[in-house]
Structures are given as C-alpha cells and as structure tokens.
Amino acid sequence: MKFTLSWLKQHLETEASIDEIVERMTMIGLEVESVEDAGAKLAAFTIARVISAEKHPNADKLRVCQVETKLGQLEIVCGAPNARAGLVTAFAPIGTFIPGTGITLEAKPVRGVISNGMLCSGAELELDTDADGILELDSNLKVGTPLAEALGLNDPVIDIEVTPNRPDWLGVVGIARDLAAAGLGKFVAKSIEPIKGAFASEQTVATEAPEACLVFAGRLIRGVKNGPSPAWLQQRLRAVALRPRNALVDITNLISLDRARPLHVYDAAKLKGVVRARMGNSGESFKALDGNEYAVTPDQCVIADDTRVLGYGGIMGGEYSGCSETTTDVLIESAYFDSTLTHATGRATGIVSDALYRNARGIDPESCADGIELATKLVLEFCGGEPSEIMIAGQARPPPRALSFDPGRTRALAGIEVSAARSKEILAALGFEIKADGKKLSVQPPSWRRDVEGSADLVEEIARIEGFDKMPETAPPRASGFRAPPASVGESRVRLGRRACASLGYDEAVTWSFCSRAHAAAFGGGGERLMLANPISSDLDCMRPSALPNLLVAAQKNADRGFDDARLFEAGPIYLDDSDAGQQRAIAAVWRARPPRHWRAAHMPDIFDVKRDVMTVLEAIGAPVASLQAASDVPAHWRPGKAGALRLGNKAMAIFGEIHPRALKALDVEGPAMAFEIFIDALPAPRAAKSGKGRAKPPLEKLDLMPLTRDFAFVVDDKIAAADLVRAALGADKALIADVSLFDVYRGERMAAGKKSLAIEVTLQPREKTLTDAEIEAASAKIVSAVMKATGGVLRG
C-alpha cells in the first residue's frame, strides 16, 4: 500500500517530519517497507534567476553570470549555452554535493574568475539525462524556493505492508486516524454530504446472490463529460504507481486508495436491463479490463446485465462496459462482497487488482452509500452531469454486539498500566463508541473494525497506541519445584548419538526432509501417502523413508568437487507413513569407501568398520549392545551378504554394511559406499525409566579370584555364523564363563572344502575358590559339547 505524505496530510493535520511519522507508524503496527523521498537529495538546491550573462574574459565557451540567489547576488561561472539574462534555474551554493558529477563545490577560480556556486543541468541533478544546458524553469518561481518544491518532488512516497487484520489501513484515512490517535496530529474528519438525486434511474441494480454480494448500491449520473482528470489527481495516482486513465476511472481509484472503498463505473449506454450481482454460470465468459478472457464458474460472483457478464464482482470489470472518453451516462457501483469468496475467485483467476485486494480482506460493510456520495461529488465536480437517486439492493450484516471491557485487562495481558480514562480516550480516537457499564466499559467497535472480537483485541488497541515501549521488565518467574527433564528420551538419545557419530569422524549434515520419489522408492519408500501435492520441484516431491539417499547424493557431490572421502551423518526424521507415529527419529551415516593411503598399512573400509561405528554409537546412546543380535537379512537397498541388521528379538535397531549397487545406481552415486542407520525410536526404553528405581546403580561385584583363559579352535561348516558359535560357548556354563572372544577365522588349504576354523578364547571366572584341573577340564568339555551341539563343529586336531 503506497501513499504520499501530502495525501496523508489531507486527513491528518500534523507538523511531524516524515521520519517522525514513519517511526510512529512502525510503533503502532504499520510496517513501513520503504520511504522514497526523491526530494531529499535536492535539499541544497534552490531557485535562482540569472540577471546577466557575459562572455568569460579568458574562455569563449564560458559565461560569467550575475545571479540572484537566496544568498543575494552572486557571480557564477557557467558553461551552459542557454545561460542568459532572465533565466530561472537551479542554484547550488559552495559546499553542495552534485549528485550527477559526484563533486562537492569549492570556491576556486575558473580561468581566473571565482565562481560562487553553480547553475545546474538536469543530468547534474540526476533528474534526467539532459546535459546540454542548465534547467529552464517557470519564470514565475520565487528565488530561494527549494528546488524539490518547485519541481513537485517534495512529496515522499511511503510504502507499507498491511497485516490482514486491518483492511481499513488500505485507505489513507484509516492510517491518518490511527496516527492521530497515537498523538501525531489531528484527524481531519471530512463528513460526506449526501447529494440529492434529481430523478429515479431507469437503470436498476439488484443482488441475486446475497451470500456473495450482500449490498449492491448504484447511482446513475447522466450527461457527464469524461476526459482527463485534474492534474493534482493524476499526479497523486502517478506517485503511487497508478496510471491515470480518465476522470471517471481515476475517481474510483482515488476513493479506493483514500477510503479503502473500491468502486466500479459502467458506461450506462452499454447496459441492457437490470445490473445484478449473481453467481456465474458454466459456459459464461467475459473479457476483463486486463485484456484477458475469463471463463466464469458457478462458485464465482459476477456482475451481469440481462444479456451478458459484465465483470467479476469486486475484482475486475469487463472491457465491454468500461468507461471511456465517450461515456456520457455512468453507473457507479458501490457494493459489499463476501471477502472469502472474493479471495477464492482472486486465487482461482490469478487476477491482481486494488479492488480485489481490498474486498478480499474485507471492507467497511457500511461504506456503500458513502462511497457513492463521495464519487458523485467528484464526478459532478470534474465531469458535470445529473445524478439519479441512490439505489440500494440487499442488506449489510448487522454490526457485532458491543463488547464488555474491563480496562484492567490491559495491565493483566500486556503488562502496561493504562487508566480507564486514557483507555476510553484511545478507543474513542480510533472510532470506538464507549459507554459506561458499571466498573466495565461497553465498547462498540466501528463498522470498519470487524477484526475486533473481544477483550484481547481491545487490549492490543490500547497497548499499541499507549506504546509497547511502556511495557515494564519483570523478573522472569521460574517454574518451582521438580520439573521434568527438558528433553524426551528420544531427543536425548539423538543428542548423544549425534556427538558419538561426530567423534567417530562423521560430519553432521542437515538435508531436506524430502527427496525424489524415485530415490525414495530405491530406499524402501515412495508411498502414495507421502507425496507432496505442491513440491518445490519434482526431485523434492516425496517425504524421505531414510536420510541415506540424500546423504549418498551429497557425498557424491562432494566427490565431484574433489573431496571424495566424505563421511556424513544426519540425525533427523524419517517418514514411514503420514501418521504421527509414521515419523521416526533415525541416525543415518554414509562412508564412501576409498582405498586408504598411509605409510602404515591400512585396510579398505568395509562392513566391519561401519559395524564398529554403529555399535559404538549404539553404546553411546545407551542401547543394550550386548543383547543385540546381528543377522544377515536386510532391506533391499542394502547389499546382500555384506550388510547386517542388529536386532533385539525380531526388531531391527540398526542396519549396517554396504549399500546395494542397484540402489547406488538409482541415485547415480559411485560405490562402494558403507553406511549405517539407527532407528532411535525402536530402541527399548532405558532401564532406569522402566523400573522406577531412580538413578542408583546396583552394587559393584568385584571378585578376588583371578580369571583364567583357555583357547579352542573348532572346524565348522562355512555357513555357520560365528555369533552362533560364540553364543553356544557362552552358554555352556553360565556361572563360570565370563567372556568368549573370537580371535581367528581360517579358511584355506589346511581346511577341507566348505569348512572353516573358528578360534575362541574363553575366560573362566572362578567365584568361590581356585579351579582344580579337573574342574577346568570339565568346563572345557562342556564348551566343546555345547559348540558341537549348536554348530556341528569339532575341535580342530
């Protein structure tokens, strides 16, 4: 919403400077986007008159001028060919910065003659590109007049962002009223005098869709002479970037911006029968004033006569019935359209107009007659003619009930102490009607403030006008007593896991929650219910089933930039479905496996590196790592045989290993790539939280007897999982066997085909007395038999 300072001053008597006005607007809730003050850079320049211009004694092309300036008569050297006696032009005193040349004037001799200032061209002032001569201005201008004023450039243009709750601020009057209430001047309330109709119009209006067009007021003015509007009106419209058309149209634009009261004018000669607001019919269309053809639909409100659709109600009229220089009879429309419906039609058609903007936000429902009267006055003034009586069809919604307001609420809600008297004063200045109601006030909001529905709204009015800066600081109260831990278990685990991952060498990334459907599908997602209706682009159209595709693509991008050793992780959401429970926390990590180069032998990163990392992170999170079982069945995007799941029961807590080459191909990522993914929400609840025993730990069991170890090597079938053998050994004598660790895997020539040797070290922990040889032998026998039973393995000879 743009307006000029002089326009504002039509409704606000104030001595305040533009800076003060802008500051106050900001502090009462009018967000100022910009102030364009074309005159500000011309502040030093004033009007001067050349008294005489003689040739410079030492230069053919220069003139020595005697100039009448605001500083008295001065001698000025000038190179302009048009410098001559009697010329009224722009003068810059010594010390002025000339914007067009970037030079600040100094009093120094020009070919021996001192120049006491400068006469300026349009180019030097950056007004235009004319550098051939100095400005030639109206000879009636008074010497010393500020140049900006003489050129009509002393009127700053203010551009504001209006919040949707204040459609009344879409008119300059509304802004002036609030500024006056805020003490910035006196609101100039111009009463609108009704103009008596001279005849009853045969051209009638009606509303046949009262839910869409509640009120349709019209007036015919016949015998008008349309043409350009007065210069002041044209200038006012141009200043806010509107193109003047003709007097009738310019009047509607003026009132729309001045009063937030959109109007429309029809060339009555083009109308047949009743002009009515009604819902559109399928198959109807019209050509709008923007030159586009619109097909109307039954959920849109149109204005139509007996033969055709004339335009969209409250949005844009049609070309056919528009007013032109030849219009002699004009029908003025001043209506009230339902804002929601108007808004929807605006969205559906993509039309942008000042009328739509205002009607969609909701105009003053009681402004229809005033709009017509104001327009009539201006039409008669600019174009002459004879007005009909006003026709009003339909009825405005009744005003909302008066609110009962306790002035103490301002202190309770906003923390600002405002007396009842001051509260009344503020509300009255904003147009509210106030009656005493016991200790409370009965407050009737004005018709243009339909946003005010309750006490809180009145508190806002009082607080913002009184000033939010009056709000005191209180000591922030602290919640007393015990409070719950400030983060959920899941969130705490994410924090721990995040730091564990980073300490293992992975850099944390934050990637989009969405990816392409193809990428999602390659990683087990891509379901219909996870698709976005309006993605930002087709490669971000699906909620991700995992962060892995985004991380893998990012790792490849890093490689393409020359950094091919990316190790990335992300701790963020994944989406299994669109329900609340379908969003889960996961930590995903990728490690592009590249041959390590180091003077000490190092191995190519493989599944066991990421297995180590995933177990380390799980440990850090507090997951029961010892109870997790590794298994080789994994989802399809993991490489079979080189990826595993860590499970508790049959539920996967984490997956690790190599990404399937097919999945990498779907992402266009070069492999091999190691990865892991931890499903935070799948992990069991921490024990302490479950048992409710508080944070105390069980007592430490410290045995005095030395543990001892025995080694065993078993020959087993190649397909036997090492973990099964280890588990069997561990279970052979639970009281005695404290630990089993696998230290060798051998396949090769000394082994039969299809067989391998697994060697374990078993730690025996005596509890009450030192073990005898016989007891050790017995334990060994139990181990051998347990392993044989579980795996078919035999002791290696």
Binding site: L413, E473, I536, L568, D578
Partner: protein, 362 residues
Amino acid sequence: MMAKTNDLENLERDLSARIAAASDDAGLEAIRIEALGKQGSISALMKTLGSMSADERKEFGPKLNALKEAITEAIVAKKAMFAEAALEAQLKAEAVDVTLPPVRPRIGTIHPVSQVMEELARIFGEMGFAVEEGPDIESDFNNFTALNFPPKHPAREMHDTFFMNATDEHGARKVLRTHTSPVQVRTMLKQKPPIRMVCMGRTYRCDSDATHTPMFHQIEGLVIDESSSMADLKSVLIAAIKAFFEVDDVRLRFRPHHFPFTEPSAEVDVGCDRSGGQIRIGAGEDWLEILGSGMVHPNVLKNCGIDPEKYQGYAFGMGIDRLAMLKYGMPDLRAFFDADTRWLKHYGFSPYLLPGLAAGVG
C-alpha cells in the same frame, strides 16, 4: 711377608687394569674366572691362608679379602656399564622418525543448527521450560484452524504451505507444518496449565530463493498460567537473548503486529550495530527483527480446551537458522542444507564442545 703384600698390590693393579681394558662381557668373564674362579689367582691365594701363621693371617687375611671385594665390585660395575651401553646402542638402533604422521582417527563435526538447538534447549531449560515435540506432517487443524486461522483466510496463503497429496475420508489434506506452533496446540491438548515449554524442529514453506529455503528450523515457546503477561515475555526474551548472544546489554523493541494466534501480537526487534557489514547484537543504534510473539489468542485457548477466562499466557517463535547465522556468522542460509564438507568442517562444532559453561552458553 713384604713380598706377599707387594704381590697383592701387583695382582690388584694387574687385574684392575685388565678389567678396565675389557671390551665385552666375555672378556670380563674370562678375567673373573682367572681371578675369582676355582682355579683363579685370588682363590689360590685364599687357599694359602690356612697355612699361614696366626700373625701373618691376621695381617694378610683382611688385605686379601679387600682385594677380592674390590675386584668383584669392579667386575659388577663394569658389567653394568656394558649393559647400559648395550641398551643405549639398542635404543639408538631402534630409533624412528618421530615426524612421521600417525594414523589418526578422524574427528567429525556437529552441524550449527544442532549446536544452536542444544544451546537454546539449555538456555530455556535453565528458565524452567520443558522441550516438547510434534510431527512434521501435521493436520490442517493443528497447523491452522486451532491457531485461529479461519478456513480460506488470506493469512493461510501467506504461509506458502506444502500440502500432502493424499486426502482423508473428508477430502482434507495434511500439511507440512509451516511453523512449530502446532506443537503448542498438541501440548495444550494433552497437558493442563501451568504449561511452560519450548519446541524446536523442522518447518516448511513452499518458497525457495536466495534467502528462503523450503525447509528451515524454528523454536517456539509457550507459557500458560493464570497471570503471565507480555511483560513477563519481554523479560524471558531479554534473558534468553543475553544468554544466547553472550552479551550483557540487550535492547528489545516490541512492535505491534498481527498473528492470528496471538492478541496482542508483537514483532520483536533486537538492538544491533550494522557498521562494517557485520551485525553485532547488543551494540549500536540499529534494529533487527528476530521474532514474533504475543499473548495467546483466547480462541486458541478455547480450541485447545483451556478456559480463556481463567488462563492466559504468551507464545513466541524464532528462526533457529537465522539465530545461528547471527551468532556464528554464516552468510548464506542455503549452504546450511548443502552438506558440503568444506562448509560443515568450517562452520561445524567439535563433538566435545557441549553447549554449557565450557562452550560459552550457560
């Protein structure tokens, strides 16, 4: 007698010289055997003691014993010297080039957004705020309707909402939450006042240009009780911003604004200095808008089953990415989500730098 004494002196001189001259353990051992072995010269002299007179023995005995001790000691000392020298030689031989690079475990980094979220959780946690959570895929009710956005209201469209494609049985679509405010709704629906919470997380707007990304992060705060006012909100925000930016002097400016879910509503600017192309919070005469806030709208309380006649409170929301940029100097929002390892390593944080006193946030 004299002759014998002289012999002892000669023998000692001779043996001492040879021990001193010995060049290795073997040579030394030979000397030891020669002197102290069964057939050794000293041993032989010891045997003669028995045949001496008592006086002779009294004089000669101690001398001979002294000789034996002296030679034994000399040999032990020499042996120790050899061991020392051998160790020296061995250590010298085994020396490595200490300038060679070791195999070092890599240390990764924490993303600034995570670091800032933990800082904020800590700051608000200290002030008694619990951390609540909610899903990204939200119902229209939680994201809009409950928050007093009337259906089809223009304010909804100002949110550039992402909609899910799928519809429910009523034809309604879920949305990607456009702000963290639906977590207010969820919290109020499940918990009776007093409520004192923040929530942080991903939010989404269908918008992408130099300063907007389709996904970003917000923190939301909500306090509901019987008396909290905007003045309390102001105090909490001042304390939080002082702690976050680690400055003592913070100026806040509340500007009236409009949000459907608060009334009164205010945008809050923080005093800053923009000279030199950098924004410094807490100094200077400029203002920078950093958050939206206000008193929770009575309609929102009603929608969430809380009696607005009895309870009131405030809410505020801030952009976390923007807070990170202001505190840590990242110039470009888009780079947050690029996963460029150069950026992550440069702007990321050590995993050992837990927000707290050590990291400068208390």
